[in-house]
Amino acid sequence: MSDTTSVRQTPSAAGSGLPGGIFGEGTPTFLTTKVDFVVNWARRNSLWPMPFGTACCAIEMMASAASNNDLARFGMERMSFSPRQADVLICAGRVPYKLAPVLRRIWDQMPQPKWAVSMGACASSGGVFDAYSMVQGIDTIIPVDVYVPGCPPRPEALIYGLIMIQEKIRGETLGQHARNRAEDPAAVGRPRADAAEVEALSHPFGNSTNQNRASGLVPGIPTVRPGDRIP
């Protein structure tokens, strides 16, 4: 497939003898450009986000759509509450295990091409919620393109993350697109990461190491759970 083409004006306009084209008199009536560029330009500037808002980040997502930080400036005028018409999934907020199949199904229901933004610390890594009910990062469930840090991120940060999605689209080529975005139909509804990867991604870090020790899951370290304290 050729990577360049020409875009001719419609015969009715070009052949009608009207003076000039879209740029005024004397300008050529056709443009040459790359298909990649045109397709990416179109995709990039009319992204429809699917707001998967659960917690605090959803409020900041609402703030970024409201008057002061007008998300519509960047072509995200229409929040698509149906995954069928959405291009980019914004996962804003904590995702417990009970919600994980819902998130996965919404991702599966979105048509290709699609992108995902993980907004906030909890969606990206579990955040402070290193506990029994929480998914430790949605990248164990769906592929994520952009992580927006913050707890919660400011609206500017979310907008910056979405601009990064736009930048990512700008760099894509149609030739590679199918390969990059190919999905195994058998993988629908399955975790994105395999068991080893889930373990690696959700390994405790920082302060949560202490929690893990207290939970008795790390062998060899004698621990006393808070329950064993005697008042």
């Binding site: 029994y132 009910s133 373990e199 959700s202 893990n212 899951l217 008042p231």
Partner: protein, 252 residues
Amino acid sequence: MSMEGGSGYKDVPGPAEETGALVSMPSGLERAHATVPVLKERFEDAFLRHEVVAGDEHVVFVARDRLYEVLQWLKTDPDHAYNFLSDVTAVDYGGGRPIQMVYQLYSIPHRRVLRVKAEVPLSDLEVDSVVPLWSAANWLEREVYDMFGVRFRNHPDLRRILMPEVYAEGHPLRKDFPLRGRFSRAEQTRRALAQAPEDYYIPSDFGPGRDFQVVGWQEVGGEPVPVKEGSAQERKASPPPASGSPPDPTRS
């Protein structure tokens, strides 16, 4: 801290008594509660003890078997009329001690607060449901069942409320439940994604025999945490740490 009867906290030399000068307790510590003496007189055998905590909060311990009777009287007696059930919860102190059921009552006409507690031994976690008295107890009791495993007799719809119906790892707020759950993260993710939310449209439709056949974490694979039998007794035997001793490394 306690007015009468033995408080569980009574003998512990806590920081409060050592640095007593710093504690500014509100006045009126022994202010009588209008309901407690009447309650004691009426339910002599069911009334176990009475405590005043945090300055002015009155706590009444009653026998578990007569809990419903006591609460019914508190609600219906016109002189007391605790018509607003503020909260139902439970406390697990760990170490094999009984779970405390906590009922926080409020009387809108008399503007009076009372906390009623009942101790439920771990071997027999069952109390009477108070849903017939206050509808508000419905979800609150379901939450206690979900988090602590306390079963409520005569509850109209006792099933898990916050955790998934097929949750197999136990009751999370019990002290023997590890913070990160009993299964590995990979196993938890696999189980989560295998749920089908549409299986549970209206669970109560599935009749009284609605048993989700949840295989307990003890039976299935995963990595069950060994239950430390010894640790609780050892800790109980040792004296409570004085506040001057070096801090327990696991606490800080």
